[in-house]
């Protein structure tokens, strides 16, 4: 039985289907990359799986560990072992990095988690998760906090966005460490080199999965504008 099973998922906003019949499954410990240009529905799918406010399927099912979760509120899904590292994580005045890394049912060593995302615990543990952090620093701290949760399924929404080019390898290693600790990863990315760490990949276009398989061929399909649905006209309309 798959850890995450999405079947026939449809999500509409007025006059438009953002997701149009998504079928996707993830096994425990598997990394599944989602690629596609802006506006194709990748983050929408992430928010539907996580249960963010305003994101309830119009049709279809989301099952986690065999049970339907699409009616559960966000925090109950988190307590089942699903977490999301946001593309632009929120900032919190007065909350220290140490406290942030101890939220929820966290039992991991905060210093070790910081170290794994390339941040020095001595420099960061007592800092606040507020606007004094740069975008890249905040992003790494978000990854560290999700590492500390050791979720069964983690959704990483553009984990390398805002990260300097020299550090992308570090972030790829972090993604790998989720897998090593047994977490399944739904990885949303635009970067071909990040896709390579995945076990499988899917390409989204116009709210549909247009290509699935090994990451190399999906990335090649995406980069080669070879979308069978739109001949690359929508996939690459940025």
């Amino acid at each position: 039985m798959a850890l995450l099973e999405i079947t026939g998922l449809v999500f509409r906003v007025p006059a438009r289907r953002l997701l149009d019949g998504i079928d996707l499954s993830l096994e425990g410990g598997e990394i599944h990359a989602l690629v596609g240009t802006n506006g194709t529905g990748k983050s929408t799918l992430a928010y539907l799986v996580m249960g963010c406010e305003g994101y309830r399927p119009d049709r279809g099912e989301i099952r986690f560990d065999g049970s339907r979760i699409d009616g559960l509120p966000l925090f109950e899904r988190a307590r089942l072992g699903i977490s999301l590292a946001w593309q632009e994580p929120a900032r919190f005045e007065g909350l220290s990095v140490r406290d942030y890394l101890s939220l929820g049912r966290n039992r991991a060593d905060a210093a070790d988690c910081l170290h794994r995302v390339g941040l020095s615990p001595a420099d960061y543990l007592e800092r606040k998760v507020d606007k004094t952090l740069s975008g890249g620093e905040r992003k790494r701290i978000e990854l560290a906090s999700v590492l500390a949760l050791a979720p069964r399924l983690v959704i990483l929404d553009e984990p390398t966005a805002g990260i300097d080019l020299l550090s992308i390898r570090e972030i790829i290693n972090v993604i790998g460490s989720f897998k090593r600790q047994g977490s399944a990863v739904l990885l949303i990315t635009h970067r071909e080199e990040v896709t390579r760490i995945a076990d499988r990949a899917s390409q989204l276009c116009g709210g549909r999965i247009v290509c699935s398989g090994d990451p190399g061929s999906v990335a090649a399909n995406y980069m080669g504008r070879a979308c069978r649905r739109c001949d690359g006209m929508e996939c690459h309309d940025e």
């Binding site: 909350l95 939220l103 606007k131």
Partner: protein
């Protein structure tokens, strides 16, 4: 039990070490209602206090270049359900003096209590004053707290004030501070208040950057719940070359509470600059969802966000502003 014992017990209940009041190396002033209970001076710090029938008059003077190693503790309160306390405080730091003050204000049973403070503070050149005032109120809200202060921050002096009222009901709070900041001096004012029930808050702080290179920050953090109301008025004036000021007000509003913020900015010198930012609203949705994705319930997430907003910064706020504001406030910047 004597009034002094009761005030000591109030300190104990708040986890504060009463032994500090017995320490001969630590200055203090303790008053319950209109009664002066205890005072101690230390070398370099003169403390004269007396009862006048109308209240308590205290004169504190720190000698030139004296560095007072231990904080001066001010312990004020009205412990019964009814009462009045009026403190008339005159504080002078002579040139080069340094002092930390920790004020503890206890009103745990207040149903009809009035606490009035009229303070005049003068910081001589190169002096430094770090003032922290924490209020501990009870559940009834039957209290009126009315602090008034005029502060003159002399050339190259540093003044930092942190006022917090986050425990118990506020009742009525009406703060009015006027601060004049002279050449190359720095001032930071922080107020952190949590209003509940029918509490009413009015905080007016006027910061006049009068001297060349003067720098100042007014930071206000307010959380409101139930039917509480708040009116926050932050006034910044830049009247000299290189004066830099920032007004930063954030209020979280829940239930039927109502908040307003009025930053007033006035600049009379072309090379002075005052900036402001004000945000009022409910708890940010993205913050809530980020915390809930870590398994916190909505209630736990709101408590954490509000608690963080009202938490005291351990380091001066000047270095904790967002980069643009911090650059404006950076020492030596003209």
């Amino acid at each position: 039990m004597s009034e002094l014992d009761r005030l000591m017990r109030a300190l104990d209940e708040r986890g504060l070490d009463r032994a500090v009041m017995a320490d001969t190396g630590t200055a203090h002033l303790m008053a319950s209602g209109q009664n002066l209970l205890s005072r101690r001076e230390v070398p370099g710090l003169e403390l004269d206090a007396r009862e006048t029938g109308e209240g308590i008059v205290a004169r504190i003077r720190v000698a030139r270049d004296a560095h007072i190693g231990q904080p001066l503790h001010l312990c004020f309160g009205v412990l019964p359900a009814e009462g009045r306390q009026h403190i008339d405080l005159d504080l002078v730091l002579e040139e080069g003096a340094t002092l930390d003050i920790v004020a503890h204000c206890f009103f745990p049973n207040a149903e009809r209590v009035e606490h009035l403070m009229d303070a005049s503070v003068e910081l001589g050149p190169r002096s430094r004053l770090d003032y922290t005032e924490a209020h501990f109120h009870g559940p009834h809200g039957g209290i009126s707290v009315v602090p008034r202060a005029t502060v003159k921050v002399g050339r190259q002096a540093f003044y930092r004030s942190d006022f917090s009222l986050t425990t118990g009901r506020v009742g009525r709070l009406d703060i009015d501070y006027e601060i004049d900041v002279m050449e190359d001096a720095v001032t930071e004012l922080t107020a952190r208040v949590f209003g509940r029930g029918s509490d009413t808050l009015r905080i007016r702080e006027r910061l006049v950057l009068a001297g060349r290179g003067a720098r100042g920050l007014i930071k206000t953090r307010v959380a409101l719940a139930d039917e509480a109301t708040a009116e926050i008025i932050g006034i910044g004036e830049g009247n000299a070359e290189g004066a830099r000021g920032h007004i930063d007000c954030m209020e979280i509003v829940r239930d039927r509470a109502v908040a307003s913020a009025q930053p007033v900015v006035k600049v009379t010198h072309p090379l002075a600059k005052i900036t402001h930012e004000a945000a009022i609203g409910s708890v940010a949705h993205h913050q809530l969802e980020t915390l809930m994705a870590h398994g916190l319930s909505p209630e736990q997430a709101v408590d954490l966000i509000v608690g963080g907003l009202l938490r005291r910064d351990e380091a001066p706020s000047v270095v904790k502003l967002r980069p643009a504001a911090a650059a404006v406030m950076a020492p030596g910047r003209r």
